[in-house]
């Protein structure tokens, strides 16, 4: 019986092997791809066997560090499954893209991506605070190395930015977890289930601040832009697609259930910040001068929106937030791959040099258009479905909140249309002629296609997703909702 521990162990072991053994570029790529596909296969098995009402599944619970009461306790519920699925998918696509693009010291870069995957799955399946913490902070290490070693020209400053922001959060979270673990009755105990409701306001604040920074939520978004813009495309895809979702996931699956009283009391803070961030990010996105900045700001907006959804503390908000995390992961990963592809092929991502790409590039135009339309939540898309749920939840929370948030739809339309037309339409940019190959070809296309197909599939039948997730997501916020008197 395959448990989720396997999905963590396999990529981790493969990463170590890749780092230690002298693989050639081809061999390393194929091994990494194979491993990531194997993980994806395992996840598909999970999806197939998953019982929506069955609580935690595919888990393990064994002693790990006995003297500290730390247990290797992992499990998968609906929300975890959703996040693990996109992790597996996006990692596979990122590795595929890395193979296609060809990196120096490729075995190391693939190993680090696989390591990130292992840590991420650890975060998404953790049922013990220490396991969670190790995954949450551990994933930063390979990502930072990837950024520092394979990033763009401004990578040094970007790394400093990221470290400066996240180090603070890390420390606070560690303190919060230590408090929860060591004040447990009957000796140290880090089990999440036993920590419910034991924290006070300060612990909540420390924990929340760490997540706010990681997500990121306005006003702690300063590190996002350089990090996303300077990473190589596949790393940006992982970073924005999954790593940032770890923050949103932790809000929903760790913070709110662990601190129901505080979550209910201070929900308004997060709702306010989420609303501001949603509108702020969207508003700023439409004056950026290159594709990746537009997508980065839209990611800030979307993450704020997701957290807003979590803190609505109802079924609509929680399910919608989970769904939105998945959708946004797919969209932003694909967009970053696409924008990165364009940037590397053309030599610049600036709108000044691009434009008119739709002409005689049908595949590129189609993919870009589908992604753009999904990103602006055109009705009927899966992004629309999830945004609709969150906004409906917001409207049920209070009509004015729903009304304010709905303005975001217009902003999203504005910046995405600007991106589409700046890249695809109008006059042809001066660097467009140098694109080689001129259109998306097999290699890069194959990395994008799974993401696009998943989006289309989710658009056709979003209920297939929400049915599996609804029970778990609702359960996660139910105690906080009770505290809030809803």
């Amino acid at each position: 019986m395959i448990t989720v521990s396997w999905l963590i162990a396999v990529p981790a072991v493969a990463a170590v092997l890749l780092l230690l053994l002298p693989f050639g570029r081809q061999a390393a790529g194929y091994l990494a791809l194979l491993v990531s596909l194997a993980v994806a296969g395992g996840v598909i098995g999970f999806i197939y066997r998953f019982e929506p009402l069955g609580g935690d599944q595919f888990g393990d619970n064994i002693a790990w560090i006995e003297s500290l009461g730390v247990r290797w306790h992992v499990g998968v519920n609906g929300v975890s499954l959703a996040m693990i699925s996109i992790t597996a998918l996006i990692t596979a696509c990122a590795i595929g893209y890395g193979m296609w693009a060809g990196r120096d010291r490729s075995h190391a870069s693939f190993a680090l991506i696989l390591l990130t995957e292992a840590f991420l799955i650890m975060v998404f399946s953790a049922r013990d605070l220490v396991v969670f913490y190790v995954g949450f902070e551990g994933m930063l290490i390979p990502l930072l190395v990837l950024l520092a070693a394979w990033g763009g020209a401004g990578r040094k400053a970007a790394v400093v930015q990221v470290i400066a922001y996240t180090a603070l959060g890390t420390l606070l979270m560690l303190l919060a977890i230590a408090y929860l673990g060591f004040t447990a009755p009957g000796g140290p105990n880090f089990s999440m289930a036993d920590a419910v409701g034991r924290g006070n306001d300060w612990v909540f604040a420390a924990f929340a601040l760490a997540l706010v920074i990681k997500s990121p939520l306005f006003p702690f978004h300063g590190w996002v832009l350089p990090a996303y813009r300077e990473s190589s495309p596949e790393v940006a895809a992982v970073l924005s697609g999954v790593a940032s979702k770890a923050g949103g996931f932790a809000f929903l699956a760790v913070l709110v259930p662990l601190f129901p009283a505080q979550a209910a009391t201070y929900a308004w803070v997060f709702i306010a910040l989420g609303t501001i961030g949603f509108l702020y990010g969207a508003f700023l996105a439409f004056r950026q001068s290159d594709g990746r900045s537009v997508i980065a700001y839209s990611s800030i907006a979307q993450m704020s929106f997701i957290i807003l959804g979590v803190f609505l503390l109802d079924s609509r908000g929680a399910t919608g937030a989970t769904f939105q995390m998945v959708n946004h992961a797919l969209v932003s990963a694909a967009l970053f791959l696409l924008a990165g592809w364009l940037e590397t092929q053309a030599g610049s991502g600036s709108f000044k040099h691009l434009g008119g790409l739709a002409r005689s590039r049908p595949v590129l135009a189609t993919v870009a258009l589908i992604l753009g339309m999904a990103a602006l939540a055109v009705p009927g898309s899966s992004v629309f479905a999830s945004e609709f749920l969150i906004m409906l939840g917001a409207f049920e929370h209070s009509w004015w909140l729903g009304s304010i948030v709905a303005i975001g739809i217009v902003f999203a339309a504005m910046y995405m249309l600007r991106w589409i037309s700046a890249v695809l339409h109008e006059r042809e940019g001066d660097l467009v002629g140098s694109l080689n190959p001129p259109d998306l070809r097999r290699g890069a296309l194959l990395c994008l296609l799974p993401l696009v197909l998943c989006l289309i599939g989710l658009s056709i039948a979003p209920a297939q997703f929400t049915d599996r997730v609804d029970a778990a997501a609702t359960a996660l916020v139910s105690s906080a909702a009770k505290e809030a008197g809803r």
Binding site: P226, F395, A413
Partner: protein, 639 residues
């Protein structure tokens, strides 16, 4: 029967998929015919389904079917629900029928365009979206269709994507419509919060439980959506710009189908709107003001398609008046006839533009009657129908709307009646200004130069472009006979069941009286147009430079709506966004934290370089001092 509707819905989608996948493997013409045949099949299915619906007893013509659940969360669930009744049937016929004709027309119109396959795929996508909009049995699915037609409209307006103006217009249309989507979505949220359901049947059943305030707010929000989609005041500015798209698009989307979705929405939701009488009055007022305003603006426009676009706005405003007066059937009836004559006018205009190699300015036309007689004849039918001249179709439908105003006999009714008649005068003037300037008068130098060669080359146009025009001309001429006051009664009786609370129908006498007035006023308008524009005359120029020149200028600037939006929203938003991202975000959120951290580190660094200077004995000194201090501490503490 419902299977047929499902097939109707599925066919265009299959078309999209086929055209996208086969793509370049198909010859351009083959793609066009494939798409057209699919549309024909869809039309036939819709027609058969309608006949089957008609064959059912009158009280039993409302079919609801759930295909699958699309989205769930807690107690909220949205299905792919189908709603098939008389109104849906009318819309299906219009969409697929006119859609088919325009597909055929497009084969000829786009034959020289290398991207015609993409065009056909978009067209099919549009038809699919529009069908989703009208067959939906719940508001969310309607919103899906609503958004998808906006998307297809965006794609098609911006079809020639190397034209910056086209792309700008497409974006403008999409964003305006997004504002409408927001209104509609908020309306749906409100209804769900109040009633706990989003299905039509649930809303209709619960509508009477709503207070008037609740119902009014919900209706107002729905109206925002309707106004944006139907290009009514104050969200109308996108429609004239949308004429940058290919002409068949203007005919199909921006005249016959999509822009009438607002009317459809109000007619569809009539059991709800009944509970919001103030909103209904507001709709009438929006309609009256809109029809007068756009009629006036149309008189001074010089672009042939823009004139027709403003006329579309004006005609949809009539439909708004109709539904606002609770005479829903008149609105839908006018929608039906309008689809024919307006598509006819657009397609005719497309033939003219085609013959003139893309020239759209009517001042560069003139005298085309001789070279394009068939086009002239067909467009004349359309123009007469548009001007509401008896016995053409527009006359019956428009007069039915105005007669309802007379019948209602309230202040609002009188406003509608008088405003509508004034509008008829304007309609006559601008329509025949167009006709006279294009087809009569002395040919302009440009037309003289271009036309003979063009006609000699391919006649008035390829037959794939001419035949749809002929068919539409027939439609524009005869569809009005569905409802000859006192004789036939089909439009009312067919649509009557859609309004459970009943709807307004004028008496036969009121009808004929209005028809008389309407025709007379229309003829007066035509006469004025003849006087001013049919012959060479300096009258228009005198007006232009005379006492009314400020007014003239205002009209030419479309009453400054675009300038208002530009100055009130677009520019401040652009400036604010640039300011925020360039000055605030970069300094406050990106650099300040890092810079602050850097300053802090540097400060500590500088402070410690005094002792951390690499000289070992200084380290030892610190060590010794530390030991001394430690012992001192222990001593003082008395340990």
């Amino acid at each position: 029967m419902t299977q047929l509707v499902w097939i109707t819905l599925a066919l265009p989608l299959i078309g999209v998929v086929l055209l996208s996948i086969l793509g370049m493997k198909l010859p351009a013409k083959g793609a066009g015919w494939l798409a057209s045949l699919i549309m024909l099949a869809a039309f036939l299915c819709a027609a058969v389904a309608t006949i089957m619906l008609a064959s059912r007893p009158e009280g039993d013509r409302q079919v609801v079917e759930v295909a699958w659940v699309w989205l769930t969360a807690g107690d909220f669930s949205v299905g792919l629900d189908l709603w098939f009744d008389e109104l849906t049937a009318v819309m299906l016929l219009v969409i697929t029928g006119i859609g088919f004709l325009i597909h055929v027309y497009s084969i000829g119109y786009m034959k020289d365009d290398p991207q015609s396959r993409r065009f056909m795929a978009y067209l099919n996508l549009f038809v699919f979206s529009m069908l989703v909009l009208v067959v939906s049995a719940n508001l969310v699915l309607l919103l899906v269709g609503w958004g998808l037609v906006g998307l297809s409209s965006y794609l098609l307006i911006g079809f020639w994507h190397n034209k910056p103006k086209a792309i700008k217009a497409a974006k403008k249309a999409f964003i305006m419509n997004a504002i409408g989507d927001v209104g509609l979505a908020l309306g749906i949220f409100l209804l769900f919060v109040d009633l706990g359901t989003v299905t039509y049947s649930g809303i209709f059943a619960g509508a009477s439980e709503l207070s008037e305030t609740q119902a009014s707010i919900a209706c107002l929000l729905l109206l925002v959506g309707a106004v944006a989609k139907s290009a009514q005041l104050p969200l109308h500015t996108w429609l004239p710009d949308a004429m940058e798209g290919p002409t068949p698009i203007s005919a199909l989307i921006h005249a016959a189908t999509m822009v009438t979705a607002g009317v459809y929405l109000i007619a569809r939701m009539n059991p709800l709107f009944v509970h919001a009488p103030l909103v209904l009055d507001l709709i009438v007022i929006i309609g009256v003001v809109g029809l007068l305003m756009s009629g006036l603006i149309a008189i001074v426009q010089t672009d042939i398609k823009r004139i027709i676009a403003f006329s579309t706005m004006s005609q949809i405003a009539y439909m708004f008046v109709g539904v606002g007066l609770m005479a829903y059937w008149t609105g839908i009836f006018h929608l039906f006839t309008h689809a024919f004559f307006k598509a006819l006018l657009f397609l005719g205009a497309g033939l003219v533009i085609h013959a003139l190699h893309g020239e759209q300015d009517i001042r560069n036309m003139g005298g085309l009657r001789k070279q394009l007689p068939k086009v002239y004849f067909c467009m004349m039918i359309g123009a007469l129908a548009l001007s509401g001249i008896f016995p053409f179709s527009g006359g019956f439908s428009k007069d039915a709307i105005l007669a309802s105003g007379l019948h209602v006999d309230s202040p609002i009714g009188w406003i509608a009646y008088i405003g509508g008649l004034l509008g008829a005068l304007l309609t006559g003037i601008y329509t025949f200004r167009l006709m006279f300037m294009v087809f009569h008068r002395r040919p302009s130098p440009y037309a003289e130069k271009v036309i003979p060669a063009s006609v000699a080359h391919h006649g008035e146009g390829p037959s794939s472009m001419l035949w749809p025009v002929y068919i539409l001309a027939v439609g524009a001429a005869v569809t009005g006979f569905l409802q000859i006051p006192g004789v036939t009664h089909l439009a009312f009786s067919w649509l009557d069941p859609i309004a459970p609370d009943g709807m307004v129908e004028a008496t036969v006498g009121q009808d004929w009286l209005t028809t008389l007035f309407g025709t007379l006023i229309g003829l007066i308008g035509i006469a004025i147009a003849y006087h001013l524009y049919a012959r060479e005359s300096d009258a228009p120029e005198r007006i232009r430079l005379g006492r009314g020149r400020l007014f003239q200028h205002a009209l030419e600037r479309r009453l400054y709506w675009d300038d208002l939006y530009s100055w009130a929203f677009e520019r401040p938003a652009m400036w604010a966004s640039a300011f925020l991202s360039r000055d605030i975000d970069r300094t406050a959120f990106r650099w300040a934290p890092l810079d602050g951290l850097g300053q802090l580190t540097a400060f500590f660094g500088r402070s410690f370089t005094v002792i951390e200077n690499g000289i070992v004995r200084m380290y030892a000194l610190v060590l010794a001092l530390g030991i001394g201090a430690l012992i001192l501490f222990l001593l003082v503490r008395g340990g």
